[in-house]
């Protein structure tokens, strides 16, 4: 076993060697511009892009003409939200999203609010799920778009996408989903799910960084977005810019592998995830964050009460994970996602997110269980809060000095 161990696969994944191999000729040999229409370099590049487009479309049940290449999910989210807002301005200005969305969605919404959009940020329940009744009652005559993520990047919680899609269809409202964490990990089908626009990215599914896609529905209804970059009018006018051919080829290959191996990957990661989670939850005062019954197969998020997450990460320095703590940020604010579950700040500061991959091994998980357990125990021995808890002192009754 090699150290350090990578268990931060919700942040990004290693490129699958098979993907890497498929990409290499497109740097040195087939390096043409896919938009060059008058020589073989361009034709070969275009052919490769077309093939990748098919592979990607197939993974999500779409038509290849519905795939718009972008630089990643951040751009896809921006294009979806801003592009719909501009294109459908005459229909309305109301957008519905949720408190636990990725910053790329929330900040794009905040931007649009300055441009006159009315945005509803749905709260989530304690398990991270949106209440469909609340969503339903938020849809108004001027609602043009609902943007709800498929799987949450911090918790792994999966929303009821099919139900939300159906509700949007019924109400004649467009439905965008940021499916960055879900595509390639679980079956995602834009037809079954009634999704009109969908963002996803290669680097969360064993593909390269810097390439993503926006699915834009062409039938029932035909959806259009206003381009956000001015230029050569690539991607059916929706996204100008020379295509990242090696990246796109790698993205396509990653999708092809996902189609073939998704079941195997999901079984592998969920088995290891469940083992890791079960063992870590045996620690006293440790809590699972998010809905256990509706989530991605490879993710778990656990709070270890009275231990601060960032400190804990130093204690497990051979293991790469993420924490909901944000001791480094100027605001000292812990994760807004955890807080929107109603977690108190201390528990939010005490959380770790583990994300497994198809490359994770049992040995790595066993090492992680042992290391995290030891570090939590060591830090609790050092924690005044743990001592008070053990003495039966209610921490809520103490007058803390804020600083």
């Amino acid at each position: 076993m090699k150290l350090p161990i990578y268990l931060d696969n919700n942040a990004t994944t290693k490129v699958d060697p098979r993907v890497f191999e498929t990409m290499t000729p497109f740097f040195l040999e087939t390096f043409g511009n896919a938009a060059s229409r008058n020589h073989s370099f361009g034709w070969s590049a275009e052919e490769a892009v077309d093939y990748a487009r098919e592979q990607i479309a197939k993974l999500i049940g779409a038509n290849e003409k519905e795939i718009i290449f972008t630089s990643g999910a951040t751009e896809s989210n921006n294009l979806a939200l801003k592009g719909v807002f501009e294109m459908y301005a005459r229909k309305g200005n109301h957008i519905i999203t949720a408190a636990t969305e990725h910053k790329a969605v929330l900040d794009a919404c905040a931007h649009l609010e300055k441009q006159g959009a009315e945005v509803t940020y749905l709260p989530v329940q304690g398990n991270g799920m949106i209440d469909l009744e609340v969503l339903k009652s938020s849809i108004k005559d001027n609602t043009i778009l609902v943007s709800i993520m498929y799987g949450n990047n911090e918790l792994g919680v999966l929303q009821q996408i099919q139900e939300i899609g159906a509700m949007c269809k019924e109400n004649g409202v467009l439905f965008h989903s940021d499916a960055t964490q879900a595509v390639g990990k679980i079956p995602v089908d834009v037809i079954k799910d009634n999704i009109d626009l969908m963002s996803f990215t290669a680097h969360k599914m064993y593909g390269p960084k810097g390439v993503g896609a926006l699915y834009v529905r062409r039938k029932n209804p035909r959806v259009k977005v206003t381009a956000q970059l001015d230029g050569g009018g690539h991607e059916r006018g929706m996204r100008s810019g020379t295509l990242n051919v090696p990246g796109i080829v790698g993205f396509g290959r990653a999708c092809e592998i996902a189609i073939a191996e998704m079941d195997k990957d999901a079984a592998h990661t969920s088995r290891l995830r469940d083992k890791l989670e079960t063992e870590l939850l045996k620690l006293e005062e440790s809590y699972l964050n998010g809905n256990k019954d509706s989530r991605l197969p490879h993710t778990t998020n656990i709070s270890f009460k009275h231990v601060e997450g960032e400190g804990l990460m130093i204690g497990i320095k051979d293991i790469a994970v993420s924490s909901g703590s944000a001791c480094t940020s100027a605001s000292l604010e812990p994760s807004y996602v955890l807080k929107s579950l109603g977690l108190d700040d201390e528990l939010a500061h005490s959380s770790l997110r583990f994300g497994l991959s198809r490359f994770s091994t049992e040995e790595e998980v066993d090492f992680t269980i042992k290391t995290v357990t030891e570090a939590v125990n060591k830090l609790r021995d050092m924690s005044p809060l743990w001592e008070m808890f053990k003495e039966g002192i209610d921490l809520k009754t103490i007058e803390w000095t804020d600083h």
Binding site: E308, I314, G315, C327, D381, P384, L385, W400, D402, H403
Partner: protein, 138 residues
């Protein structure tokens, strides 16, 4: 962000973790910070009859820099007179541990904890608490 070697050393080998008898007149306890801010420090000093700090202990809930700042503080406190201890400035901790700007609040907290412990001791001894200027660094 990478931690300095000194922070890592204090984190891995914290000096003087523990608890002194809070009820003793010779012991001063300072508890500063707040759980919702992600750091809480408890620093205790035991003062001998000559006014020297004979022992110091800490427990900290917080990031590596917070743990290192309080560990270092206990190291510095031991053997000092109470008056000299009062003169410890957070910037000395910043320098010693090479804390980056975002972690300066950890050193401020350690300084606050020292002052709070000394004041607790002073009050027990029937002395006036020292006026504390409100720290401005967050």
């Amino acid at each position: 962000m990478a931690y300095s070697e000194k922070v890592i050393d204090h984190f891995n080998n914290p000096r003087n973790v523990g608890t002194l008898d809070k009820a003793s007149d010779q012991v001063g306890t300072g508890l500063v910070g707040a759980p919702e801010c992600g750091d809480v420090m408890r620093l205790q000093i035991e003062v001998d009859n000559d006014g020297k700090i004979a022992d110091a202990k800490f427990k900290t809930f917080g990031c590596g820099s917070a743990i290192a700042s309080s560990s270092l503080a206990t190291e510095w406190l031991k053997g000092k007179s109470v008056d000299d201890a009062l003169a410890i400035d957070n910037m000395e901790i910043v320098e010693e541990l090479a804390l980056p700007p975002v972690k300066i609040h950890c050193s401020v907290l350690a300084e606050d904890a020292i002052k709070a412990a000394i004041n607790d001791y002073r009050v027990k001894q029937g002395l006036e608490p020292i006026e504390q200027e409100k720290s401005i660094v967050h």
